[in-house]
């Protein structure tokens, strides 16, 4: 073997050992993104058909009265504009290596660029941001009433009507709004500003235990919301509107189908009402013969932990790991149970599960966490 072969074998081994950082949570996020894109493609196709139809109508209407022609021109312009806005957008790159990737509908304004600070304003759509850490320069995204200040590296920001969804891929960010602030770490997400008394994040951030869910719509808006079916709104990704319609219609709006229950839970969770998602997820999780029951249970665990109900969250994660020990969620569930028990102060149980994790997943993604849990409180280095 030549000398170079030894080195390239080491290169290959090192690249092969890189953690792809693709877990069940990221899968769900990407899946939701895929459905959004599918809907956009359909809308684009519809806009294309409409443009063609209007163009044909324009040609046929050459001899028609002037006002009708003007109306047709306006519609064509709107259809064209929506077609253009859905095109893929190039990333925005900075000299220090930081990258901002807008989605097709994003409206981003470069508000400030100086040696001390970069500030972007997100008026619509969503962006993914990878920031090269530089202690001497602040990087932030302003989105409505919310500021996302970068403490680490990668995150996603999405404008959702009056609120802002933030998901951290790795590193840390600080989310600041007029009445509060929260720090989010890797794999954590939330919708901000948080409601008064209602903590919104479907994430792992520490949050006060919530009061029982309250219907959000005002008395004046309730009748019209009640008349609206929440499902089409949810399928279009309009979660705030869907939640209004869902709460207005009450329990009868959600039947006992797992798919409907998961959709209702998504609506509650993604519109910033984590507590309201819990009963739907519990019902979905009770369908033991359905494979999606595990996902419901897992999501329920995440929400419980985010609501500082770590012990309940840990129990939920353990249930997932027990019910399908070789399933796709088992490894993540076990790792999260270790952390949740740590948060709940159950050090012994956390260590016990950490030992089990290392035994069952000797090359697992969360080895560091398990080793940290094993070492925590024992005064001895892990393993």
């Amino acid at each position: 073997m030549r000398e170079g072969d030894v080195n390239t074998e080491r290169v290959a081994r090192t690249i092969g050992a890189v953690d792809p950082r693709w877990d069940a949570v990221r899968t769900e996020h990407a899946l939701a993104g895929m459905h959004r894109r599918k809907r956009r493609r359909r809308a684009l196709l519809g806009a294309g058909v409409m443009t063609t139809a209007l163009a044909v109508a324009l040609i046929l209407a050459q001899s028609a009265p002037v006002p009708r022609q003007r109306e047709a021109h306006t519609s064509v312009a709107i259809a064209k504009r929506s077609a253009v806005s859905a095109a893929p957008r190039p990333p925005l790159r900075f000299a220090d290596g930081s990258v901002v990737m807008p989605d097709a509908l994003a409206e981003v304004v470069l508000a400030t660029v100086s040696n001390e600070r970069i500030a972007l304003r997100l008026d619509a759509g969503s962006i993914s941001v990878e920031v090269t850490p530089r202690t001497e320069r602040e990087f932030e995204v302003i989105c409505g009433r919310v500021r996302v200040v970068v403490l680490g590296t990668g995150f996603v920001v999405e404008r959702r009507a009056e609120r802002t969804y933030v998901r951290v891929l790795h590193g840390r960010v600080r989310v600041v709004w007029d009445r509060g602030a929260r720090e989010l770490g890797a794999d954590e997400d939330g919708t901000f500003p948080l409601d008064d008394g209602l903590t919104a994040a479907a994430s792992d951030i520490d949050a006060p235990r919530e009061a029982p869910p309250r219907p959000r719509p005002s008395a004046a808006s309730a009748p019209s919301a009640a008349a609206t079916d929440w499902r089409p709104l949810a399928e279009r990704g309009e979660y705030d509107a869907a939640y209004l319609a869902l709460t207005a219609r009450g329990e009868r709006a959600v039947d006992d189908e797992v798919e409907t229950l998961l959709l209702a839970a998504d609506v509650a969770r993604l519109s910033g009402h984590g507590v309201a998602a819990l009963p739907y997820l519990e019902r979905a999780a009770s369908h033991h013969d359905d494979p999606r029951a595990l996902l419901a249970s897992f999501t329920r665990g995440r929400i419980l932990v985010s609501l500082a109900r770590a012990a309940e969250g840990a129990a939920e994660f353990e249930r997932v790991a027990e019910r399908a020990p070789t399933g796709a969620l088992a490894e993540d569930a076990l790792a999260r149970a270790i952390e949740a028990h740590q948060r709940a102060g159950h050090a012994d149980r956390s260590r016990e599960l950490a030992r089990r994790y290392l035994h069952e997943h000797p090359r697992g993604r969360w080895i560091e966490r398990a080793e940290a849990a094993l070492g925590a409180g024992s005064g001895a280095p892990a393993r």
């Binding site: 080195n7 990407a30 790159r93 990878e130 790795h170 070789t326 080895i367 560091e368």
Partner: protein, 201 residues
Amino acid sequence: MAPRPKLSLVRPDAGSGVRDGGTAVRDDASVARDAEPIDTRDLDALFRRFAPYVARVAMRVLGTQSDVDDLVQDVFLDAHRGLRSLREAHAVKGWLATVTVRKARRRLRRQRVLALIGLDAPLDPDLAADPRQSPEERALVASAYRVLDTVSADARIAWVLRIIEGEPLERVAELCGISRATAHRRVREAQDALEGAFRHA
């Protein structure tokens, strides 16, 4: 300690250390699972099962995390029609790999053309940001992708599939739509570039 899984497919010259979930080292359970019949009409279930695989291949080919979510979604949206006629998991996986390679190649080429005319910078090899690896390992990964940036996109893809993913040469040829000899030449092209760069490393 649980018994070590029996290995059924190990590329003899690699020792690439691909971890669980990789294709270079697969246990019997994984092989059996790939032969299971599968409902290809349920796109969500397919996505949940195969997105991690597609993401891993895409990340290793692109050398970056930043474009991967987008590429995974693209792959499933475009692959869906072709998937309907398939009935077994290994066939689904194969089709998804083909679409992933095609899309990753297009993305690499577009990126290079844009960089050439000064409209964009090359993709950042942020796979090197894995916090579980040592600083030395991270530097090695970043350097390797910088070298892979200097060879053709086809050679880079062939090398990743063969050396990192551990695919047999025939399969590399099939995924890239080329002959076995061409696949071998492309793997060699990338391998030579890396050997040249790391000979004195």
